[in-house]
């Protein structure tokens, strides 16, 4: 098995041990998922966004490693109470990585996935609402693209597995 050393930071360890805003949110009006169980890396965000487009409540579930759990958890803390526009603009994977005190480079994708899931949630919110604000870019952001790429990889892996089984 190929491995790399994973010296997680104190903050990652703290969030892994005591994740904030964990679990389902019963009154969520937006639920977004990113990642795929095939990659062993998947996040669900539950959000309650109010009429003023403010993220009133947010929680998460994570099927992934300590970095996945920690980045998902910190994202909920970073965007709770923010207007969705600010959440969209302020939260990047680099900031998320900084907030957890840094991540080993092989774990950058965890933070990227978490931010991808948030952006996906915000798009979904406006889709549900039936109005798209001007500030929301039509093109996918880096994080959304990366999340898609990871999901595509998972599909390919599953396909390859099925093909191998059929042979």
């Amino acid at each position: 098995m190929s491995r790399v050393p994973l010296p997680y930071t104190q903050k990652v360890l703290d969030l892994f041990r005591n994740p904030k805003n964990l679990g389902k949110l019963e009154d969520a009006n937006v639920i977004s998922i990113a990642g795929n169980p095939a990659c062993g890396d998947m996040i669900t965000f539950y959000m309650k966004i109010n009429d003023q487009d403010v993220i009133e409540k947010i929680s998460f579930e994570s099927y992934g490693c300590a970095a996945n759990i920690a980045t998902a958890s910190i994202v909920t803390e970073m965007i709770k109470g923010l207007h969705v526009e600010n959440a969209w603009k302020d939260v990047t994977w680099k900031k998320v990585t900084e907030e957890v005190g840094g991540l080993p480079s092989v774990k950058f994708h965890c933070g990227i996935l978490a931010v991808g899931a948030v952006k996906r949630a915000i798009r979904k919110y406006y889709e549900q609402k039936g109005s798209v604000p001007d500030w929301l870019p039509k093109d996918f952001t880096f994080e959304e693209k990366q999340a898609l790429e990871e999901e595509e990889l998972a599909k390919k892996m599953s396909k390859r597995l099925k093909a191998a089984e059929e042979n």
Binding site: L13, L22, A38, G40, D41, T44, S62, N68, A164
Partner: protein
């Protein structure tokens, strides 16, 4: 980065018990082995074994006596059939590359199983660049080689076949003799190699009975020091050396022999084979207790690999559904229980263990796998402690997962 590790280690203060089960990846070295090794650093035999002075001759004598002992443990004919290498990785590289290069005129096809260790799989990938092609033989859901497919795959162009005796991840013991007979029936010229690292010290390994041409064994897999292993090369079998340098006492591996490590490997072998039956019974007993206890205490758990006598006596590998493996290894570590996982997250790629995928486990099952190996030193109390902390650790990780990641 170092500061981070310090914080991680600090989180482990005040552990009430520690149980080390990651014997796949590294082990403790018993005091008796260290005591045997230490004098060779400063008191005797610390010379270069090729040189003409007392310390060199002492080293030479020690290395030859060690090779003699290892050759006996393996059932080899003469000590010259043993080449010490810096480990299993190097021995497998030497076996595959060395045999392929030296016998290229006989053919360029290689046959291996799908579940060979990385240090075999990746060598065959590398050999592509030198014109060799490799067929990977599938295994069934317990990890047993498909012998029909093996028969189909071997032809007059096949230069080399390599099948591990016991799989390093799932412990499945292959019918190596039967498989290699099939190979030799189809092509008597094909050289056969087995990586016996996970079989040595656990099940009888006799190269003469197995009729193998090449066999790998490793020191750290039997509680010896890391950095030393050996390749058995049957007398008369042509193997090229794969590294260049000053040739010492061994024609297939250049450089200065590491006498203390060779001594440690030999002592670890002696300890494994002294009371072999009792040692194996001890690891089997604690392993069974561990596996039975896990299956009893946890829901949605599957044992990976073969059952009963067809499984290496130390190997426990389970898939815990709705539980991500890397997260679980950390949670268990914080409670003093050390295991490894076949999860992609504990590896560089987003791909889980190729062995678990080959036996038909779903990706989520592979990501939720943990691998543990017992040794003769584990006690019932150790296993009781693991079984005490495991359910709550799994419960906490499953609590984070919720309904996410269920496929």
């Amino acid at each position: 980065m170092v500061e981070n590790v310090k914080a991680l280690l600090k989180a482990h203060e005040n552990l009430k018990r520690e149980v080390y089960l990651d014997n796949e990846n590294s082990t403790v070295v018993p005091r008796e082995v260290l005591d045997e090794m230490l004098p060779y650093y400063s008191q005797k035999g610390y010379g270069n074994p090729t040189l003409t002075h007392k310390q060199g001759w002492e080293a030479f004598e020690t290395i030859m006596e060690s090779a003699q002992k290892i050759s006996q443990f393996l059932g080899a004919k003469i000590l010259e059939e043993i080449t010490f290498t810096p480990g299993e990785t190097e021995a497998n590289n030497l076996a595959l590359m060395g045999a392929a290069f030296a016998n290229k005129q006989k053919g360029t096809k290689i046959v291996i199983s799908e579940i060979e260790p990385i240090n075999v799989l990746h060598v065959t990938d590398l050999l592509k660049k030198f014109g060799f092609t490799t067929t990977k033989i599938p295994v069934d859901t317990e990890g047993f080689l498909n012998l029909e497919k093996l028969k189909e795959a071997v032809d007059k162009e096949t230069v080399l076949a390599s099948v591990s005796m016991a799989n390093n991840e799932i412990g499945t013991i292959q019918p190596v003799r039967e498989a290699l007979d099939i190979v030799k029936d189809k092509n008597p010229e094909t050289l056969v190699h087995t990586d016996a690292s996970d079989a040595y010290g656990r099940i009888p390994v006799n190269v003469k009975d197995l009729k193998v041409d090449l066999a790998t064994v490793s020191s750290y897999k039997i509680l010896g020091p890391r950095g030393i292993g050996a390749l058995y090369v049957k007398e008369g079998v042509n193997v090229d050396k794969i590294l260049e340098g000053q040739i010492g006492t061994q024609k297939l591996w250049p450089g200065v022999e590491n006498t203390p490590l060779i001594v440690g490997f030999t002592k670890a072998s002696e300890m494994a084979f002294q009371d072999f039956g009792a040692n194996v019974a001890r690891m089997r007993k604690t392993r069974n207790k561990l596996v039975d206890g896990i299956l009893e205490r946890l829901s949605d758990v599957k044992l990976n690999g073969a059952k009963g006598d067809k499984r290496a006596p130390d190997n426990a590998n389970v898939s815990i559904l709705r539980c991500e493996g890397e997260a679980l290894t950390i949670e268990l570590s914080l409670k003093g229980v050390y295991v490894s996982s076949g999860s992609a997250c504990s590896r560089r790629l987003l791909q889980p263990s190729h062995v678990l995928v080959a036996i038909g486990r779903k990706f989520s099952e592979a990501h939720g796998s943990i691998l543990m190996k017992t040794t003769r030193y584990h006690t019932e109390e150790d296993i009781n402690y693991v079984l005490e902390v495991l359910p709550s650790a799994v419960g906490r990780i499953r609590g984070i997962v919720g309904s996410t990641g269920v496929d």
